[in-house]
Symmetry: C2
Subunit: 460 residues, 2 copies
């Protein structure tokens, strides 16, 4: 009897071992073939070169954004997706214009300042605003000054991001309210314009643009960001001459909203074609630089995911989509429209994944998922760790896919080493040359591996 | 009785809780203060600027290496170390000379080739070698050709590194034997010179130097590395004209060995001053570029460790040393000498840590440690994970500290995101501008945190 039991136990264990091992082995082999395909035959780097160098920056509503939409569609068609189509999206149309000037004279010497208008800023009506500058760090400091000290002046928010925060996104988050609400808070006290220190951790002379959000019912005043170097200099000069006269001229202009489109490609599912997995980034960028890390990289990685699954001959169970969202930067119209249309048409998602943290080395995934889903993805980590993917970090996924949130969907964001991201973000320096080929490719491969795991194993 | 037991249990648990919590809390607070000090007041980036821009590259045996030794000593003195001294080390003295040329004529058009001599190569005696080129990928291919096909020709090893390996160090390791032994293997079959494709994963026009090791008793032939672009071009041109005549001229020269020094700084231990922890990088570099990532970053991080411990007022139990090793690149004289002197003087190490993978974002530590030590460091991970330090990876530490290996010492190497490392490694492009301030600082802080843990908790 003892012998039989042992044999029985042995067989049971073997069965467990056999029933699990091939699965794990095939997952592991599939992920290896994804990585090999991307690292040896990847097209995302050359696609990024084209997007950055031949199209360039592409603010939603602009002609170049339209070119990017056409390029996205034809590139996805070349990737052998089963079906590529456009989804109309209404977007704003704002231009910086061709002229921006900031400067002042100190002890008879003119000093020009590196600045750029915040996205959505009003212009200065072809005139130059000349006014004294009042420097503050916080909204509380501003309010403490009161209208008497602020009226008729230019408010200058000069607060560096917190360098002690290890995750640069958290540091950026700390400065974000000043860019968004600073101009309206200043206007409430009678300021004639608003300057902010750029939201960056770098100490250089690139000004960083980005959306500002005028509060309804508050006077819209011109708003611009100074480079870190210019902000330090101005602060120093204000100590020497608190009454210096700052000159500001911006030629921004807002137009009627216009129609552009999300670009969507899909590989139809073979078993559950009505269950969707969406992978995307945003096709629009700010209107300076080349929108390389923000978010050309997310775009070419999403296209690479489709190309790679096709190239290795993978037939997904679910329907896999790459979505090139339009206008993340300036109101999230692409993401909002996509989620609305999915809801209206009863389209069911099991997962979505976004890449919008730059084309840097991935370290894992951010996730906005249930406890059960979290347990599931933790079990995938041993398959991902050989590729230096260390974690699923709860909290946050991406702006474009967030509107898809419901009780079922698992949302993920590619989590990259973001130390350099806010050096380039929204500047003239966000260029193709600052993207490393392997780092970009590793991100694309990591995304494709997660799509494979979501599709083949799922969350049931 | 039941009540008393419960109270007893409660008290016991509280005691456990009190005896552990303050320790964990103080470790966590101490590591936070290390990171804050480095990220807010760090001097390593400006130190690196000086080392790269005011001293520049510093091949062991050269005058600039001597300048770097003097700079290292005075910078460590400024860091408030208790004691700074030099340890004499005998090093080789080799120069590239001022002239390097490679090229050929194809269909009447001259083509100059981006190449650079391998470290230690002999020169061409003021003459130009002109010979046919035979291209191979491996030693086996070379041997299969035999002396008949090789004699009087230039052997060209043209094998790209394996891009599918995720850890670039492993890819580099795969190419390393060709640089080290290629020239002697070619010479054994009568080759007159040897060219190799640079050991890089980048597709650019920078040639990468690095030591070659002539085999004793084999004729020493001139050896140089071609850039990736030049190697591809030459290979293509050889297909069109297998008999093209390659011209090679190198002005390298070897001199008598000479005396330089390791620079050593220490903070004396307060409880166990005779137990040592050594932290270091190598002060020498190759003689092109600025030796920024290799290994200026390891040098300034080691100095920063000393500065930071002093700045936050930490009084170590053990004696902590920063060692700026001389001549890692060309025979490891600094590391060998240091270990020998430590052994001769009976100096006992509990741990050593090296940074020689570039000043990129750290992801953890490599380690060459016992199972018991591994268990200990794994228990430190929760303290390190908030800083995105994900792992202790077994295998490998660093070339400079490896000679210290004995039954007791725990050896560590800073494990960084090395995707870009072999783009810069041993090239004219290994420059200060390619080092990111925060990435460098995070490495310095991670190193200091590990030193703190080794010192305060240790391995007993």
């Amino acid at each position: 009897m003892k012998k039989i039991t042992s044999l029985f136990l042995l067989l049971s264990f073997q069965e467990v071992s056999f029933s699990q091992a091939p699965h794990v082995q095939s997952d592991s082999a599939m992920i290896a073939s994804i990585y090999n395909e991307v690292m040896l035959n990847g097209e995302c780097y050359e696609n990024l070169r084209y997007l950055c160098k031949s199209i360039g920056h592409r603010l939603a509503g602009s002609e170049s954004a339209q070119k990017a939409i056409d390029w996205g569609k034809s590139t996805l068609e070349l990737s052998a997706a089963d079906h590529v189509f456009l989804m109309p999206v209404e977007v704003p149309h704002w231009t910086r214009g061709t002229f921006e000037y900031g400067g002042y004279t100190l002890s008879g010497n003119p000093r020009e300042v590196a600045l750029t208008a915040l996205g959505g800023s009003v212009g200065t009506d072809g005139k130059r605003i000349t006014a004294e500058v009042v420097e503050v760090k916080t909204f509380d400091e501003l309010k403490a000054l009161g209208a008497d000290e602020v009226k008729g002046k230019i408010v200058f928010f000069n607060k560096p991001l917190d360098a002690t925060l290890i995750n640069t996104g958290a540091a950026y988050g700390g400065g974000y309210p000043i860019r968004g609400q600073g101009p309206s808070e200043a206007a409430k006290l009678g300021a004639v314009a608003c300057l902010i220190r750029s939201l960056t951790l770098a100490d250089d002379n690139y000004p960083h643009t980005g959306a500002t959000n005028y509060e309804e019912g508050v006077k819209r005043i011109p708003a611009a960001a100074l480079s870190a170097v210019a902000a330090r200099q101005l602060s120093q000069d204000l100590k020497n001459n608190p009454h210096l006269q700052f000159n500001l001229q911006l030629s921004c202009e807002a137009f009627e909203r216009t129609m552009q489109a999300n670009v969507i490609a899909e590989i139809r599912g073979t078993e559950f074609p009505n269950e969707y997995i969406t992978v995307g980034g945003h096709l629009d960028s700010w209107d300076i630089g080349e929108g390389a890390h923000d978010d050309g990289t997310g775009i070419v990685q999403s296209i690479e995911m489709i190309r790679t699954l096709k190239a290795i001959g993978y037939k997904p169970k679910r329907t896999i989509r790459a979505v090139l969202f339009i206008n993340e930067e300036f109101g999230n119209d692409g993401g909002e429209t996509y989620a609305r249309v999915c809801k209206e048409t009863g389209l069911v998602h099991i997962g979505a994944l976004e890449s919008d943290g730059g084309g840097f080395t991935p370290v894992g995934f951010n996730c906005d998922i249930s406890d059960t889903q979290y347990e599931r993805v933790q079990s995938w980590l041993p398959l991902l760790e050989p590729y230096n993917l260390f974690r699923f970090r709860r909290g946050g996924s991406g702006v474009d896919i967030r509107p898809l949130k419901d009780d079922r969907i698992a949302l993920f964001g590619l989590n990259v080493d973001g130390q350099r991201y806010f050096d380039y973000h929204h500047t003239n320096n966000d260029r193709f040359e600052n993207v490393n080929k392997r780092e970009l490719e590793l991100g694309a491969a990591a995304m494709t591996a997660l799509v494979y795991l979501m599709d083949s194993i799922g969350f049931n």
